[in-house]
Amino acid sequence: MLGIACAALVIGCKPVAFHGTAYEPPAAAPVVVLDNAAGGKFDLADQHGSVVLLFFGYTHCPDICPTTLSDWKRVKSALGRSASKVRFVFVSVDPARDDPATLHAYVSRFDPDFIGATSDSSTLARIEKSFHVESTKEETGSASGYVVTHPSQTFVVDKNGNLRLLYSFGMKTSDVVADIRELQSGA
């Protein structure tokens, strides 16, 4: 019995080899309270029990943002029923052009369960600072108007509200799915 207990302990303590970059040690995720399309609030603290994927972008972004949302769509599909315990949250850092309704329509193109949320500029700046990232408007001379320099990574918060992983742009679907399953199993 003692041997089995020890073996179980060893297995239980085996470090998980995540595909994403792991935060060590995991720490409580920053406070994130944003406006959503329903006129209510998205509060990261209310998502306990679900794994949360969080990305800072904007709807006029033609390249990185739609690619990330398309990637998320594949991840959600691959997760199957367990996707019900995953929240995909797209935070617009361009509140001047992205009101909550616009944002909701945009993310719904990819999946109706995706969450679009935003806030005023000062709140967004505070939240981004707490994630050690920032966004800035830039003029490029494009006919599409200004662009926003923004983080390319996806942040992952576990079901206990801890910031656990960071994904670079373009992570493989199978790797993200494997990590989410690990986190859902309590890793």
Partner: protein, 151 residues
């Protein structure tokens, strides 16, 4: 992200690039022309918006090809852009005037790198539809291709 490789290197690693880079026994590619492959555009359900597209350019000639302008009947303006990601993970987007494809080189547009932007789309871009894209070269020639709309 841009990938630019000499044809010889492509032949050596055995990457299949359709008939364009099929090899002779001396491992040289048969391509002798400037060709466009795998063009696609991201779907967009709204008219009047902006979306991005991607093409793989194969320059099998001995001359540098300079794409100086893009156009399409399906958008008010088409611009060439490049996304880059810095060491801190921040994305930056730059509007470019030209795209240069060196002799015997391939340039691949892909998410996170070179792309063309269709600004002021004239209709919804539904998955499966085809969008015609024209490229104006610095030598005065115009080449075009059909880009499939994908989600």
């Amino acid at each position: 992200m841009t990938m630019s490789r000499s044809f010889g290197a492509v032949a050596c690693v055995g990457i299949v690039l359709s008939a364009v880079t099929a090899c002779h026994r001396d491992s040289r590619p048969v391509a002798t022309s400037f060709e466009l492959h795998d063009a696609w555009v991201r779907a967009d359900p709204d008219s009047g918006s902006t979306t991005a597209g991607y093409i793989r350019f194969v320059n099998g000639t001995q001359d540098t090809v300079v794409v100086s302008n893009f156009s399409s009947d399906d958008a008010r303006v088409v611009e060439l852009h490049q996304t880059s990601i810095d060491a801190g993970g921040e994305t930056h987007m730059t509007k470019l005037d030209t795209l240069v494809i060196a002799p015997s080189h391939i340039v691949v547009m892909r998410p996170g790198g070179y792309h063309f932007m269709l600004i002021g789309t004239t209709h919804a871009f539904a998955p499966g539809a085809m969008i015609r894209i024209a490229m104006h070269l610095s030598n005065g020639a115009i080449v075009s291709t059909s880009a499939r709309v994908k989600q």
